[in-house]
Amino acid sequence: MLEFSQVTKRFGRKGAPALDGVSFTVEKGEVFGLLGHNGAGKSTAVGIMLGLVYADGGEVKIGGVSVQRARGKALEKTGAIFESPCFYEYLSGWQNLKIVTGYSGYWDEKAARETVGMVGLTDRIHDAVVKYSHGMRQRLALAQALLPRPELLLLDEPTDGLDPDGVIDFRERVRQLNRELGVTILLNSHLLSEVEQVCTRVAILREGALVYEGGLSGLEGEGDIYRLEVDDWEKAVRAGGAQGAWSVERGRLGLPRGADVAELVSALVAAGVKVRGVTLEEESLEELYLRVSRETPRRGK
């Protein structure tokens, strides 16, 4: 659905690159998280996806159409929400929707009413936006993003400034859109818990470079990690090696995906290793984030 290929962007001639040859892919129907510290290049990446920011190199394709070459066509089925949603304050929510949707080349009153109902703004949609709370603005932003009936939704820090109820509500709506309408979602956030609860895959940016792309545990594609309690670690590693296992660090053994842990235990026991405990270890997103962050320290730190 979204291909971000070797994208490079530098603001100013002497500045460090905001994005440095970043590539990742968002598959159709998935909820993809774009993670990174402040200034990592997440919003720049979203800006490039929407053609608001020009890339120095590389290409972004949405639904197979290049944003750089045919921006209008690429964005036809894309909706976007930015952090701190901005509207024409003196107009009502409805008037805002009408004006903004007009720039997508259509206005369907029935669809608009339905979308407004879906985001829970029916009662207040004719009030001036200046009277809206932050949560209501975010819901209006979601409504405007949904009005082109998008196949891809780009959410740039969508829950910034929302209260806990608002965050939970927004998260549930995002899940619902993905589950029931099959909307592909790219969620750009620095809130690990939010990404962990909503996304199925993530990319982590650090200093404008992609340092990770994959599943939430960080081990997808390689295998599973088991914490082993054994009497002789070296012997266990040798015996496990015959089963394709590898030592991650002392006490932690990696096993290829699909391999049977029972066979590993049998092999260890057969080799004379006393096995006192085997635990499947799942790396949390926070652990994953900290690990890749440790591996790639920030500039000047």
């Binding site: 929407l50 196949e151 029931e180």
Partner: protein
């Protein structure tokens, strides 16, 4: 219960003239929905009333009476609604017109860029050129509506004070205009002057629009527009630069007053308005080129 009853499918979109018209109407609606538009229009009415007040002063009336009667015209016949309307229009535009249009045009892109609404709109499949064209045309339309409002309200104020009838006395010594017309020809000349004044003011809006497309705050775009026009006016009126007056914009912007001469110099006006049209197009193109290459980031 399904999240949506209608099919979740991107609708048929219209990027042709219908779509353009919808966007243009939306932009115009946005401009006229602002409270400040009506505050501005109210300010113009206040200034018109203020000018009328000063025109009632005995010494002002005596000045016009002297001027008319010295040339063989009756004061009561020519110090009419049309004459008052013209004086009020000229003074109101001079006092507030340029500043107000610079404010509106200076805001049109820069304010949206500052507020963040531009990013929301440009996240849509609309090109920057088209967005700017919609905004530019709505800005020109706004200018035209404002000028018609000023022309009609100035005449209305004159009618309230002097009633129907009487001729038009056009006295603009800077431009060498001293003419008198009967009511109907006078009304025609008043309308013609308003049309050309509107065309002149389009250039003020175009300059403001061009600056609004640059990477600057809306207030800076407004101040720069007013400053440019003010400097141009000062320089064009310096005796030492009289030989180079044709280099400046102000004399071109003043061409509308020639519609009030007995014999309208159409060829000269056509040349100068073609030049102003060229400046307008240049302003749009420069604004668009600068805007096109800009990164729009929060």
């Amino acid at each position: 219960m399904p999240i949506l009853n209608t099919e979740h499918r991107t609708p048929n979109t219209d990027y042709g003239m219908n779509g353009f018209w919808r966007q243009f109407k939306g932009e115009l609606f946005r401009l006229f929905a602002r409270k400040r538009t009506y505050i501005g229009f109210g300010s113009f009415l206040t200034i018109e009333a203020l000018v009328l007040y000063f025109l009632q002063k005995p010494k002002v009336k005596a000045f016009y009476e002297r001027m008319l009667e010295r040339n063989g015209y009756g004061f009561e016949d020519y110090f009419s609604a049309l004459t008052l309307g013209l004086i009020i229009l000229v003074l109101t535009v001079a006092i507030l017109g340029t500043l107000y249009l610079a404010l509106v045009a200076g805001d049109i892109v820069a304010k949206e860029s500052e507020d963040g609404t531009l990013r929301m709109v440009l996240a849509r499949p609309v090109s920057r050129f088209r967005l700017l064209l919609v905004k530019y045309l709505s800005c020109l339309t706004y200018t035209a509506i404002l000028m018609v409002f000023l022309g009609v309200s100035a005449l209305g104020v004159g009618l309230i004070d002097r009633g129907w009838g009487g001729g038009l006395f056009a006295f603009l010594p800077e431009q060498g205009v001293f003419s008198v017309f009967d009511f109907w020809p006078g009304l025609g000349r008043y309308g013609l002057a308003l049309v050309f004044l509107t065309l002149s003011m389009q250039t003020v809006s175009s300059i403001g629009f061009c600056l609004s497309c640059q990477r600057m705050k809306p207030a800076a775009a407004t101040i720069l527009t007013v400053s440019l026009l003010f400097i141009d006016f000062i320089l064009s009126n310096m005796p030492a630069l009289s030989e180079y007056r044709h280099w400046f914009l102000s004399p071109r912007l003043d061409q509308w007053v020639f519609t009030l001469r007995d014999v309208i110099p159409w060829a000269r006006m056509a040349r100068d308005y073609a030049l102003l049209f060229g400046i307008n197009v240049t302003c749009f193109v420069v604004g668009w080129v600068v805007f096109q290459v800009r990164d729009l980031k929060s």
